[in-house]
Amino acid sequence: MSLESVLFYFFAAISIVTSILVISSKNPVLSALSLILNFAGLAGVYLTLYAQFIAVVQVIVYAGAIMVLFLFVIMLIRPEAERNYFQERKSFKMLTIGIGVIVLGQLMFLIISGTSMFTSGGHSEQSLEVGTVERIGWELMTSYLLPFEAIGFLLLAASIGAMVLAKKKFE
């Protein structure tokens, strides 16, 4: 087993375990911490795909900024733990999980029958060069200039909106 595969299965295992923890732990703080770990694991998975820039941004933006915001809000409002996650409405939850497993099976079946064209190669030769900051920055400033500018307006609108909603009172 190459180092790459070892790393992939290690990080993938972390992501799978923590994603289950996110939806099953009673305490929202634990959920948030598991989600941070999940994002860190995903960043590792991105590295095995040679997506260096995305891996770094994943840690800085997702695990760093967004999840800290989540934790702040959780601490601020101290939501009580959902005491009996698996006792209450047990049959409904089991049914949902059962349907989830079936949907997962179907998704995998469809995806596997659709990805036959990829089985020969593995990573494409260009993939090393595709994930660099230089390449992504270049694309953002040339062919994706308009979406890039549009995202600026989206973030502006979101920050104004968040301020309007969370402010205690207007003057």
Partner: protein, 100 residues
């Protein structure tokens, strides 16, 4: 070499976990975290295909999805704080003056 199916299995698994979380959990913040899980699984699909196709578009989409997720997180958490101020709860079962 890791087969592409393994990456796609990981992402499908996270996606379905997220969906199950949204449907079963009652705490608005945990529901929102499950949605973040779904968005991340989609990001993994994009990065996987981007790498296997040697095509940069997928990673750009991930960049945009991250920005959108940040915007949604800001607005969503602001809504949750505002509703907590009014009702002192974020349990979705108790937030139901309007019938679902």
């Amino acid at each position: 070499m890791i087969p592409i199916e393994h990456y796609l299995f990981l992402s499908s698994f996270m996606f379905v976990t997220g969906v199950v979380g949204v449907i079963t959990r009652r705490n608005a913040i945990v529901v929102f975290m499950s949605i973040e899980l779904m968005l991340n699984s989609a990001n993994l699909v994009f990065v996987t295909f981007s790498s296997y196709l040697g095509n940069v578009t997928g990673q750009l989409v991930v960049f945009f999805v991250m920005a959108v997720a940040a915007a949604e997180a800001a607005v969503g958490l602001a809504i949750i704080i505002a509703i907590f101020r009014n009702k002192l709860t974020v349990n979705l079962d108790e937030i139901n003056i309007l019938k679902w």
